[in-house]
Subunit: 163 residues, 2 copies
């Protein structure tokens, strides 16, 4: 799928359907980025130094999972589903099935798996989106099943509901 | 609870018990940090500019949830449970019940909620740890129920298991 323009997304809750898919552009990682993020937020040997990382479960330098998550967010914001008002997550289930490595080229493939209109707030709904972050070999390095808050078109909500 | 020394954690799976709690030191946030993180990883108006954020659901500048997560990780690594080999997460359930704001002072309170020895790998186990990130008013801004991989003491695993 082609990259989306991230500026001023136009999709409302009412424009989305279960099974709809979106694919982001890509981001090329390197050891310097991995180490810079780790120094700031996750200063552990396996994220800071390749030689030290070889002595650990990671068997070599690996990005902090939070770095993979942050890069994935950047990709979603810039070239993921162009949702009106932006990408607004309330949380979700996060998995890192394998490490992200220096020289990995990452992209995110998203699929809408559930849509829950709000009863109390007819101007929005919750969209469950499964976001798989993949490397250049198509291996999944992160799965984030996100609960997103998505605006509804004016007048499209249940008229019986009260805000 | 007092801060822990993060260098060379000494707790193995076998030293941990359900209900055990740990409290980290604190981190003072400010608008500059929020904006710097957002520029790099989550460039959306509500994370970049207070005036723009007032027009959104956030009603004022708020940190990216991934920034809250990254700060929480730094706190856990530096002063959370001193686990041998470091803080090694496989994933977990992430929730952001309220925004993190400029001038928030964050800390993390952790509790071990489940412990699962590995059958196939007697040298490690999975520990489920509930990590609540709180602001200076004791309000929870993030809950991360993490699945952590924790080493076992040599010889403490099930002798009948095979690696």
């Amino acid at each position: 799928m082609l990259e989306q323009d991230h500026t001023g997304g136009q999709l409302y809750f009412d424009d989305l359907t279960i099974g709809q898919r979106f694919t982001t552009g890509s981001h090329a990682l390197d050891a310097a980025q991995i180490i810079a993020f780790a120094r700031q937020f996750d200063p552990q040997p396996f994220h800071l130094d390749d030689a030290a990382a070889r002595q650990t479960l990671f068997a070599g330098l690996a990005a902090s999972g939070w770095h993979t998550a942050a890069i994935s967010m950047r990709l979603l914001v810039e070239s993921g589903a162009p949702i009106v008002g932006g990408i607004l997550g309330a949380g979700g289930e996060l998995n890192w099935p394998r490490p992200t490595r220096p020289d990995d080229v990452l992209h995110v493939e998203s699929e809408i798996v559930e849509m829950i209109p709000s009863r109390s707030r007819p101007n929005r709904g919750t969209v469950i989106m499964r976001n798989e972050t993949m490397n250049q070999r198509g291996e999944v390095v992160q799965v984030f099943v996100a609960r997103m808050i998505v605006p509804r078109r004016a007048g499209s909500g249940d008229a019986q509901s009260n805000e």
